[in-house]
């Protein structure tokens, strides 16, 4: 039946709803929960964008809970992590990256100060018992993530206190001991049984563990220095870097030559250089094959050191010799009197890889009376012979599974690193522990392990018209004259700084609830809800009316909306 024409051809309010303009569409907007680049870059697997968002909303405790869902040691990592998240931060292309490490540290410290309890996942107690060998960052992380899942966890370590490398290799100027103590004490209180002074191969054997426990996670670290020589020459009084650092941390003793060259490009090399410089060594040289951070250096060729630590070391007078290696030791008898350096660079080798090539004719000499290698460590094979099979590290998959040894997992510095993921940082070890916990839980629950992965949001997908320039917070740093071997050099942000920094977050790939899509849809096809929708936003697309113009996607500041084909 046709509609009868009325007097004067009037129409009723809103009667256009009978006309479904959605049929015009050839593309439709969808919410894409892309990962912020910080998240993708985080070796620990944190979603920094998510916890910054909670902080912006005024929920610091929830922000911390979101953070520790991946990384239970934010006070530690906020101080020592080289924060690849900040290097990846899209804001770096706009003004300067979010000071994520500072906010992380602030949240960790707030949790300690307010004694916020670590949240557990919902669920009931599990009967299985799991042994975690090694209470460094990887072991602590695995133990925590297993305890969160209600497993019975026994964490054992050769040392009297938990912390591993955090205690033995990182100076208190970077990581105060009370921070380690507080954070680890609170973490163990989640319900982890800690057995100190239990060394593998000395106090317990792998076989005993395997028979007593349903699963075993090996996080024994890399305790043995890598062999170092120069064309077969080794000074008689050779000390390797990590050993010197450990000794200094344990008993406060450090050699004081007139001039020293430290060979290596990691935190150990830089930490040791700073300790020796502060101890009064006149010339402290660091020779490294890597480059210093800068526009001319490839990201994968940069010194693996926290950038601000590098700056501080230079401030303190440490002399860096990047893109160089030690070519020859100049010996007088068995004693070193100098080294010959040569320039080198990482270049393509013609087989799809890069190799270091040294350049003849660039040799220079440094006059030193001590040379210290700090080129890294390998796994101490004690008690692990059957697992190592003569190799330097334990081979695993990303969940720590060791092929041929069901129920046995490994992670942290003791496993063969996938270079990109890790570079042997504390955060990488924490990530290893978290994924191993997933691997163990999956094994004991009879399922496949899962690691969520989302595509990262490129900078170009942000709409910068909606953001304002805002300076990155400046953190207090101890002046050079006040630096000693015990006081922490970099301070943390105060509350207003932490909140200001959180507010700078672009929220890459994740809904800001800014209303733009709702405000700018010419067709009233975006609806706002008071409740949160299943995709985490407050907006619904009404596809009955959406014409697919794409305005919402273009004007979404944070790249949360994409247009997809809808023919």
């Amino acid at each position: 039946m046709p509609i009868p024409m009325n007097r004067g051809a009037f129409a009723l309010a809103g009667s256009s709803l009978a006309f479904k303009t959605g049929t015009w569409r050839s593309a439709k907007p969808v919410h894409v929960h892309a990962a912020a680049p910080c998240h993708g870059a985080c070796p620990a697997g944190e979603d920094q964008q998510a916890w910054l968002a909670l902080l912006q909303e005024g929920h610091p405790q929830q922000a911390w809970e979101s953070l520790v869902a991946a990384n239970p040691l934010p006070s530690v990592t906020g101080r020592v992590c080289p924060h690849p998240c900040e290097s990846a931060c899209n804001r770096g292309h706009y003004d300067s990256p979010i000071a994520i490490h500072a906010v992380e540290r602030w949240l960790g410290d707030q949790a300690i100060q307010n004694n916020w309890p670590y949240p557990r996942l919902p669920g009931s107690p599990r009967p299985e018992r799991i042994a975690v060998v090694g209470a460094g960052p990887a072991g602590l992380s695995a133990a925590y993530h297993l305890a969160r899942r209600h497993y019975n966890v026994v964490l054992m370590d050769a040392m009297p206190a938990a912390g591993g490398l955090l205690r033995s290799a990182i100076p208190p100027t970077r990581l105060p001991r009370d921070v380690i103590d507080a954070e680890i004490r609170r973490l163990l209180a989640v319900g982890i049984e800690f057995r100190p002074r239990a060394a593998l191969g000395r106090d317990i054997t792998l076989e005993e563990l395997r028979s007593e426990f349903d699963a075993v996670f090996l996080a024994v670290g890399a305790g043995k220095s890598r062999h170092w020589d120069v064309d077969g020459a080794v000074p008689a009084d050779l000390h390797e870097g990590l050993g010197l650092l450990r000794e200094w941390l344990a008993v406060g003793a450090i050699p004081k030559p007139n001039a020293v060259v430290i060979h290596g490009g990691g935190n150990t090399a830089v930490d040791l250089a700073r300790v020796m410089r502060r101890a009064g060594v006149r010339d402290v040289h660091v020779v490294t094959a890597s480059g210093l951070p800068g526009p001319d250096t490839d990201p994968d060729d940069v010194l693996n050191v926290v950038p601000r630590e590098l700056e501080q070391a230079i401030e303190e007078g440490v002399q860096f010799h990047p893109h160089r290696t030690i070519n020859r030791l100049i010996m007088r008898g068995s004693k070193v009197v100098g080294v010959e350096m040569v320039r080198l660079k990482k270049l393509p080798d013609g087989h799809g890889h890069k190799a270091r090539v040294s350049f003849e004719g660039t040799e220079t000499v440094l006059h030193v009376d001590m040379v210290v290698p700090a080129i890294g460590e390998v796994v101490d094979p004690t008690g692990l012979g059957a697992i190592l099979n003569g190799r330097d590290f334990i081979d695993t998959d990303m969940f720590g599974t060791i092929a041929g040894h069901p129920g046995l997992f490994a992670g942290g510095d003791c496993r063969g690193w996938i270079k990109k993921l890790t570079n042997g940082t504390v955060s990488a070890a924490i990530g290893d522990g978290r994924r191993a916990a997933e691997g163990i839980d999956a094994l004991l629950s009879g399922r496949s392990p899962m690691e969520a992965s989302r595509p990262a949001l490129p900078f170009a997908d942000l709409n910068l018209a909606y953001y304002e320039s805002a300076p990155r917070i400046a953190l207090p740093t101890l002046p050079l004259s006040q630096r000693d071997d015990s006081r922490e050099i970099e301070g943390g942000p105060d509350t207003s700084q932490a909140l200001a920094e959180a507010a700078r977050c672009f929220s890459c790939g994740n809904c800001l609830a800014c209303d733009n899509c709702w405000t700018l849809c010419p067709d009233n096809a975006v609806l706002k809800t008071r409740e949160t929708c299943s995709d985490g936003s407050h907006y619904l697309f009404d596809y009955e009316f959406c014409k697919g113009c794409g305005l919402c996607a273009t004007e979404c500041p944070c790249g949360f909306i994409s247009m997809v084909n809808d023919d």
């Binding site: 709803l17 009978a18 909606y466 800014c514 009233n524 619904l540 113009c549 996607a553 273009t554 247009m563």
Partner: protein, 326 residues
């Protein structure tokens, strides 16, 4: 729509213009009308000049309007609004009357009726959705079409480079009526637009709002770029956002950063002939448009203070949970 129980009925903002209208994808005018009616609220009566907005909202028996709405002719929106307002006065009713028209119905054919309405001090807010040509009839030049723009009646060719004349400075003419409030706004700055509508709604007397509303079809850009293009018009200085009270400039939206007009022009097919490599006239016309933008910037003092966050007042920056300036 299964996720929430009828969320359309529970939108936190009043919606004067409903879905199901037949505007093109990315229509700036539909968006502008939606924003205006949202800000004005339900206690209004609208009049509408003939044009796209009228056609795409009310094909009988359907109407997309949720407020009373009256269309008569192309050139009499202001006059029928005057009549509605007089009737409301006679009846002691207090609803606000909003007259609407495109640039054709406002700058040109309906200009006399508008002038009369302003002179008689009717309590009417007149909103002109300025898309800079007669779009409903298929993109013909109007008094509002910018200099050098291509339309079907100002095509470029051997003897012409698009429209020969300038965009009529309507706002100054309106301001010369000495009315309480006249302003320009843009769909790219919805918070600013809303604020201006609310300001006008509060005034008992004639007020005028010129809303820059890109037409993807007529300007030749993708529907998804409507806001970008509108924003560039403001950022280049070609479409200054200003407020005039009793004929005097009361405030302007400063430009945080001047954008060269070429960045605005190159996104639109209507200016494509200004980028012909082998035509010396193209550069001359681009320079002419740049000079017009510079003139606006100088005349209204649009240069902002660089990165000073306070000069963003009115700009549509956002923060978590909504616009930064609302």
């Amino acid at each position: 729509m299964s996720e929430m129980n009828d969320p359309r009925a529970r939108q936190p903002r009043f919606r004067g213009l409903e879905a199901g209208h037949r505007a093109c994808q990315g229509c700036g005018e539909a968006l502008a009308a939606r924003l205006v009616t949202e800000s004005a609220g339900p206690d209004v009566i609208l009049t509408n000049a003939t044009g796209c907005l009228e056609v795409f909202t009310t094909p009988w028996p359907q109407s997309a309007w949720r407020v009373p709405w009256l269309h008569s002719l192309f050139e009499n929106s202001a006059a029928i609004a005057s009549g509605v307002e007089a009737a409301l006065k006679a009846q002691g009713r207090r609803s606000k009357v909003i007259a609407m028209g495109g640039d054709g119905g406002t700058f040109d054919i309906g200009f006399q009726a508008l002038s009369g309405m302003l002179e008689r001090m009717h309590n009417v807010l007149y909103v002109c959705y300025d898309n800079e040509a007669y779009m409903n009839t298929g993109i013909q030049r109007s008094g509002s079409t910018p200099h050098a723009a291509r339309t079907t009646t100002s095509p470029p060719g051997k003897e012409r480079m698009g429209k020969r004349h300038l965009k009529k400075d309507l706002l100054s003419i309106i301001a010369a009526h000495h009315i309480p409030y006249a302003a320009s706004a843009s769909v790219a700055y919805p918070q600013d637009l809303r604020r201006k509508v609310r300001r006008a709604m509060e005034i008992d007397g004639p007020t005028f709002l010129l809303v820059h509303s890109p037409c993807p079809l007529g300007w030749g850009h993708d529907g998804s770029e409507t806001i970008q293009v509108a924003r560039l018009a403001v950022q280049t200085g070609l479409f200054p956002l200003v407020e005039l009270e009793r004929g005097e400039v009361a405030s302007v939206m400063p430009l945080r950063q001047r954008v060269p007009v070429a960045e605005y022009l190159c996104r639109q097919a209507r200016f494509r002939h200004l980028f012909a490599d082998d035509d010396h006239r193209a550069q001359e016309e681009r320079e002419h448009l740049q000079a017009l933008a510079d003139y606006n910037i100088e005349r209204y003092g649009l240069d902002g203070d660089g990165d000073d966050p306070f000069d963003a007042d009115g700009a549509d920056t956002i923060r978590r949970g909504g616009p930064a300036n609302s």
